[in-house]
Amino acid sequence: MLSASFKRLWHKLGSPRWFFALTESWVKVAGWSALVLLVWGTIWGLGFAPADYQQGNSFRIMYVHVPAAMLAQSLYIGMGVAGFIGLVWRMKLTDVAISACLPLGMVITALALFSGSVWGRPTWGSWWEWDGRTVSTLVLFFLYVGIYALREAIADQELRARASALIAMVGTINIPIIKYSVEWWNTLHQPASFGLTQKPAMPSEMWLPLLVMVLGFYAFAGFVVLVRMRTEILNREMGARWVRDWVQARSER
């Protein structure tokens, strides 16, 4: 009984039409939450959190660097999971998800690298260090760029979907490498500021703004990915009856 309804839900989830209808309200919620959280977190982190006793004010870069780096990895994991589901169950929607995560993941990874570099200069004394975590994040960036280039190069939709799903899946090997790089190799990188299980190593007036920023980044990603998925669905299902009905309803609004 349970498995039957789960199966039904699973198949529904794979239906572009159902997904499109379901996410209409999600987009608004994600967008507004992102705006509120990001503005709140930025003001808090820049103007109100106390300076670090060792790093001074440069530590405020953490409030954008850490969420960007977390999101860069999460979006890639999302692509890997979508790729896996796409290859195993042949769902249409998973390739839509990969195409939607890709551009944001790419620029967010670039942002993580850039903000890390700008933080490294006053903290480590250099713009770039060949440090385990930096290098594995650079590899992550190249994975994004590679899949992007691949998708641009393959015209056949079916082949493009399978090729990018496969690379997305295989590339997730890099994620634990990024995570454990600070433990495996001698590094300048500070260990995680944050964990689900351990208490943060800083006072709450320092990590609370970080929490707000992390939530804001994830809400923002939710917004962008959903909007991109919805766009892609419209493009792919252009001739479908329900799309025409939606266009009609939209013009009457």
Binding site: G56, A68, P122, R228, R250
Partner: protein
């Protein structure tokens, strides 16, 4: 506020340049991501609407011709 004045906030000790560069880049990346995603959606929706209108007009003129012949 942690800082005594707006000038202090801008200067951030000696780290103003680094901090503001990082936040500026973040703002830019988020803004561009938002605009391009939103823009693509609106553009697609508008294109579909134009197509629908063209199709409708085509139907109407076909019907019109049909009435007179």
């Amino acid at each position: 506020m942690y800082f005594d004045s707006f000038g202090d906030l801008l200067q951030m000790g000696k780290h103003g340049f680094y901090v503001w560069t990082a936040y500026g880049a973040t703002g830019l990346v988020l803004l561009i991501s938002w605009l391009s995603a939103r823009g693509a959606f609106v553009k697609t929706a508008q294109r579909l609407q134009q197509q629908a209108e063209l199709a409708q007009r085509g139907d109407q003129s076909a019907q019109h011709r049909g009435d007179h012949t």
